[in-house]
Amino acid sequence: MRIFRNKVAVLLIALFALVAGPFLGTAVAGGKIALVTDLGGRGDLSFNDMGFKGADEAAAKFDLELVTIQSNSGTDYLPNLQNAARTGDFDIIVGVGFLLADAMAEVADQFPDQNFAIIDVTWLGKPNLMEIGYEENKGSALVGALGAMVAAHNGYDKIGAVLGIEIPVLYKFEAGYRYGMHWGNAKYAEVTGKKADVGLLWSYTGTFSDIAKGKAATEAMLAQGAGLVYNVAGPLGIGDLEAITEHLEAKGRSAGPPFMIGVDANQDWMGDGHRVLASMMKRVDFGVYSAVESVVNGTFEGGVIILGPNNGGIAMSGKQDLADFIDFGIGGGAISESDRGRITDNWVAMRAAVPGWIWDAVDELAAKIGSGEVVIPCGWCADTIDQIRADYPD
């Protein structure tokens, strides 16, 4: 409930800012904003689409023209950012993704009068660059705990994680997920009196774009008895879910288990509403929107902003988001309006099939994370991930 209440507070603040913004700051109606992505573009129904969603919403709200620039290769990051900055037309240029970090560091120095923002990078420290990071470890702990308890409840002894490229941001997902799994095992034993020993299967696929690799990794995990698989690689979730769907079809079923756990966006609507148990929502849209909004309001400043469970940047998917993201799916052309009723019904039935005490336990963990009673590893995991893997083993 705490998360929900916080989210309402954030919404109210955002609403106030929206209404009052034009009177407080210097509104730049009719301006332009640029969104520069890494190799992935629209259509991943996850990380990049969330970036676009935030930019689209901000552009519509503040009457701005949005130019999106997708990169063709790793050598494009720098010139794409430079080209945008050199025009001098953009009120803000937003880089979406960790992989743009080096290029952003250089361009921010090269164009000191241009406002920039970057998602998933928190260590550059430039006066004209807003750096937006997320507490993915906290959200991943929640879905890890949920996953372990649901898997144990359904008689599975493994949960999986299909990850993308091995970057420090993804270590945060892995670390939190590991912690959550162990917490969930302990909780399951405490409540049911039965020993739960759900283990972890994990794989870094080395890609954020090759959907087939997600499918292959998921198939391997299902074959080893995984009760659910956490998608931590944006578009690869489309492949993960395909593997799960085919696995179920072979058994003549449509609904999970096994399930997928979605990432970044609320992906619960995928898989007909009953194959994605929950999603670890990382509100990239919220980050991009806030960055644009700060420029419109005249409050933009360089520095690091951390978005997490306490300010609506990270959350586990609930029913209130489902309708919103069914719209997102319809917008992406993945489903149509006529699917809405069936997906919603399926989703409600799927969640109802999980015992209430499990949801209560997840809420309990969320509350403890929020109050600081439970500390989830790790802030910057690149140098600690080996230790975390040892402390919270497979």
């Binding site: 997708q70 063709n72 990051y77 945008a84 080096d102 690149a382 991930i385």
Partner: protein, 359 residues
């Protein structure tokens, strides 16, 4: 009338290419019209973006740098009658070798030279098994180079994630040492002195092919294997020459890319800053008629097309996917004259062989 002959020799391919380019642009325009984008505005952006300012020139030349080298790899084999599509893998290995040299400390110009040499040797060694397989087991080079490309791909992934890994940022290798980097020619752009290496390499290949006995033998072997055999030119030697020199050039391409191209100066998981440069080199070689000078111009054109394509996303707002289709159409059209020549040549050789078998 010697000059008139020479003029015709160069004028014909240039006219062909210009015509092919115009056809490619026209098809691209029709496609854009079909999707509701203004082709006029798009092409203005394309050309202004690629060659309209000093910065766009710099970016086009920076893109051309590795392509000149990988195109030479393909061209030198093609001149010897071989299809070497292994530049892609040799390039990864060359890049890895260049990064490895940054594990040791050396003074400034020496460090850079050692890194380049290491990349050249590594590329050459990676190319060697292909030549050996062809000579001893008769394995066709298209098959073996494709396989070696994949081996190099996964080997590079392993090395990035486990051996050469940056201790603070696990997604990339250690960075190339400052002492081993190419300086930038134009500050704030991607253009660096790596292009000098590429152009020198092209001139050396030009000299090799047309001013040395080895080059002459290679060209004869490629042009007419029967008469080469009759003249006592060793086929074994030509195959080794074509693949080993090709490997050196491709290895150099990988090195120049990681040592010169800002801002990362490292291989990143996914290898997106080097991936496909080997395959793009084939297209560049086709457009440049497998001639070193033609390749330099073709690479600059190709590089410019990529840079200008980015700008098409800005001004008429053509999405990247469509930009790539347009680029592909233009490249394909430009490659048609050379492709036609190669098909014609292969067919002639095939029918010759059939005749000799029949008699």
């Amino acid at each position: 009338m010697h000059w008139a002959q020479a003029l015709r020799k160069y004028l014909t391919p240039i006219t062909e290419s210009v015509l092919a380019g115009v056809i490619g642009l026209a098809i691209g325009a029709v496609i854009m019209l079909g999707y509701g984008y203004d082709p006029g505005a798009a092409y203005v952006s394309l050309f202004r973006g690629s060659f309209g300012s000093i910065f766009s020139w710099a970016e086009s030349l920076a893109n051309a740098t590795p392509l000149i080298l990988t195109a030479l790899t393909f061209a030198i084999a093609m001149r010897g009658g071989l299809f070497n599509i292994g530049a892609e893998g040799q390039l990864y290995i060359g890049a890895l070798a260049a990064v490895s040299v940054s594990l040791i400390h050396l003074p400034s110009p020496l460090h850079l030279i050692v890194a380049l040499l290491a990349a050249m040797v590594a590329g050459m060694l990676w190319s060697l098994p292909v030549a050996i397989l062809k000579l001893t087991r008769g394995v066709h080079e298209v098959i073996s180079t494709i396989m070696f490309n994949w081996i190099a791909h996964f080997f590079a992934f392993y090395m990035i994630a486990n051996v050469l890994t940056d201790p603070i940022r696990g997604e990339k290798t250690i960075s190339i040492a400052e002492t081993s980097r190419f300086a930038r020619i134009l500050p704030g752009s991607s253009l660096n002195y790596g292009i000098v290496v590429a152009v020198i390499a092209a001139l050396l290949v030009l000299f090799l092919l047309w001013r040395t006995t080895a080059g002459f033998e290679l060209r004869v072997a490629g042009h007419n294997p029967e008469s080469a055999h009759y003249a006592g030119i060793s086929r074994r030697k030509q195959v080794l020459r074509a693949f080993l020199i090709g490997g050196v050039l491709a290895g150099l391409a990988g090195a120049v890319q990681v040592m010169g191209r800002p801002p990362t100066y490292a291989l990143v998981t996914g290898m997106s800053q080097v991936a496909n440069l080997g395959f793009d080199g084939i297209a560049v070689a086709m457009i440049g008629r497998n001639h070193p000078i033609g390749i330099i111009f073709a690479a600059i054109f190709f590089g410019g097309l990529m840079v200008g394509g980015r700008i098409m996303q800005f001004s008429p707002g053509v999405p990247l996917e469509l930009v790539r289709v347009i680029e592909g159409v233009i490249i394909l059209a430009l490659a048609v004259p050379e492709l036609k020549r190669i098909f014609h040549f292969v067919r002639k050789r095939f029918s010759l062989r059939r005749q000799s078998h029949g008699s």
